[in-house]
Amino acid sequence: MSEDDEPAKPDGGTASQSDPVEDERSEEHPLEWDEPENNDKAPDERDSVSHRAEKYDDRKLVTGQAKYTADYEERYPDLAYAAVVRSEIPHGRVTDIDTSTAEAMDGVEAVLTPESDAVPDAKYTSAGQSYPEPSPWDMHVLNEHVRYIGDPVAAVAAEDRATANAAVEAIEVSYEEDDYVTDPEAAFDSDAPQLFEDDEVENEIVGHDYNRNRMAHIEGELGDVDAALDGDAHVHETEWETIRQSHANVEKHTALAYTNEDDRHVLITSTQVPNHTRRQLAHLFDIPIRDIRVTKPRVGGGFGGKQAMVVEPIPLALSLATDRPVLYEASRQEEFYAMRSRHPMKVRTRTAVTDDGDIEAIDIYALSNTGAYGSHGMTVAGNVGSKPLPLYSKVPNVHFEADIVHTNTPQTGAMRGYGAPQGTLALEGHLDEVARDLGLDPIEFRRRHHMEVGDLDEIAGMMGGEGANRRIRSCGLSECIERGKEAIGYDDLEQPDADHLHRGIGMALSAQGTGVAGDELGAAQIMMNEDGSFHLQVGGVDIGTGADTAFLQIAAEVLGCDEDDIIVKSSDTDVTPFDYGAYASSTTYISGMAVKKAAEDAKERILDWGSKLLDEPVENLETGDGTVYSENSGDSVTLEEIGYEAAYGDDEREHILGKGTHCTEESPPPFAAQFVDVTVDEETGEFEVHKLVVAVDCGVAINPGMAEGQIEGANHMSYEMAVSEGITLDDEGRAEVSDFDEYGLPSATETPPIESILVETHEPTGPFGAKSVAEVPTNTVPPALSNAVRDAVGVRIREMPITAEKIRAKLDERGG
């Protein structure tokens, strides 16, 4: 938080010549951006970018030929299968592990306990983040001190899955049980059972206080919120609660480990973060980074659940112990209780708003339940404030604070939206309520205050760490609202004939980021073959998002060739350049810019060869249609001719290579305007959502078809947060959900039609004007549906999920 800066101006802090503070800010965060001319192309100048290019891997996927981690099974005839013994108590110490029966079983190759030589002693965090991670090192691969029902205690490798599972059943674990706590508010009490002693954690996080089960405390302020709340303006206060959501990635966490003929430790794994996983494995197993190879095949969905080294140490330890390849595939039940989930939170919002509807102050406090361990705990909580609050960057007084506490419940982690869904509910639900209380139209109220181009956002950076002050150079919020309103039919909504049915529309806005400001790195390399085709090697991680295709389109746009002429190889730490991984909405922006730079580097060499062959100066030359052509003479030479000449020419020879690496302080927000159309039965509280409309400004969509798919999938996940229970727990913190039929993922019939609208803006800092898309529509349905129900029948549901029972109860309360 900037301590000595003046508060942001109500006018949005645009530069003013008379204000030295503003001058300094403008210098540091200029509106103008030194954008290369070729980065800003009108739609009709684009050859590949913003075209609906076929997704690179689709033909393999629809014919069932594509390989995910478990599909490598057949390559390893001596493969062993892993299974894990997990704690059955919420809190306690392991006093004995009787492995004798399991070890005597036919086909059991190894049984590992916390004391086994092959099991690392080192502490670590599973969070796949930059180094050192902004998450505490509070975990062990196998645990003597267990902190939730699901904590790993022992691991088995066996000839087949059934034997591995039988061996797990045969292992007897004795415990000394400790008191436990599952409620985050109770856990924050100084008398509560304590999950960690100070010496059980390394790399502690700011504000930790393990006596109160607090792993972190964060706070930031602009202006003076208390003064504004104590002033003349109306003060509103609301409280909100969100669910424990499962990633429900259909491909389970899966990893295969072996040591190859060159003594290299290889992990084929379903991950979003190959390079972070490699570094973390090196730390845990005390193996040099260079001796570990992490490679990602097709991934069956991540959504943040694989932005973590969740399972990889288990098969690696078992492989080292047995000298065999080992596959560990979590069960679906383990997915629900022992992998990761979205942090459930309670969030309080307070505002001070004048009679005229000017927002003087916003204050948000979040209590986040991080579960038994702290991975992603602080950073997710930070985003509760730093993602949604900048939507209202003109507000002069802003305060955000969060406590992140441990409970004896399953582990949480990164999940699509990363704190923004919780914060967006608390902010957008709250502002809707404020507008209605003041007799203002909720949409017009938002229009008066929302962010615009030219704004200097100091909110994202006020807590330091994940965010940074930034100038807004692209913002399509106004058009998002306009087009969303039109698509939902806001101005001509028809009420149902029946008196007890009421139809309403709710709206919510959202902003995300594009990469972690100042804490990202992507890199790529392009090699030209003699036939004029290319190999693109990129560290960026396609987890089913279509990132590989976006990379090809960016490269093809620069090189002037078809996407088909480029082969992409991504995410193999032995082969592809370094990358932080697929998270924080960074892949297209960061890794994509690295690809663009690599392609431009290669293009420079290609034009040089074209110049030689055409006998024309480079300045006259351009690439396109698989050729280098002269804008002067009209002469051209094909990339194939250049490729052969460069490789086999008589005089000079060169392997045409391009490399690109990208990092930036920028993290431009994408924006969304969500609309929900609902009919509520005021007699029963039952409701039907007719349609979800979400208009998104993601800059230039590199592939509009894929971008729409990201928006619709994110909106489905968001809808689930609004209407489903998530992973419910019993009194001991045991997950009550064990398979898909018990988990409330809305099915095809339970999901309303989703209309995605792309609102194009141009973000000068992104490749060809792109910014992120995949997270921002995850944030908006809970507030928009809460607002729609309020619009329809006048009652407000603040605790997710929104159910008929809760609406009915509120209606009864009001009626009585």
Partner: protein, 192 residues
Amino acid sequence: MPNTGGISVDIELTINGERTTVEAGSADDLATVLRQHGYIGVKCGCDGGTCGASKVFVDGEVRMACGMAPREADGSEIRTVAALGTQDDLHPVQQAFVDNFAVQCGFCIPGMIIQAVALLDSNPDPSEREVREALSDNVCRCTGYQKPVEAVLDAAGRMRGEQSVAADGGQPASGPPQPGESAGCCGGGCDE
């Protein structure tokens, strides 16, 4: 390797037109057996029978292979997603999924395509509601079902010989289906 648990049995199957004898352990389900014989388009996303990723045709009926004992399938004809079309010559349902951007991570897609083919075999002109009902036990986490539903409706149009609608602005595919590519439980490749 087979989950033997001590006992294994030989099962006769015709898989994608090829007659074969497979060894199945007593703890194996049909999905495991098919996967062990290289039919990796049969996916396993749950602990048995709740996600739909392992759907195959067993004697023309859609079944979740993970919920079926191999012995139950003895003597039957199995068709997996791999039998519907090849990468160069996709089944119209597969082509429609590609053209409509209905595929993201792809893990649930084989099961969804099998189910869609079965639907269009029995109901060549389904409503959107009927498509959603048909896909209601296929779990997809990526798409929100929007583009898969559009893809199935688009495929239905193609298979009826109508011009592709490429429902959501996708690239229109070539006109009416070619001979041999017409509707059928497996795209014309099976005996039914």
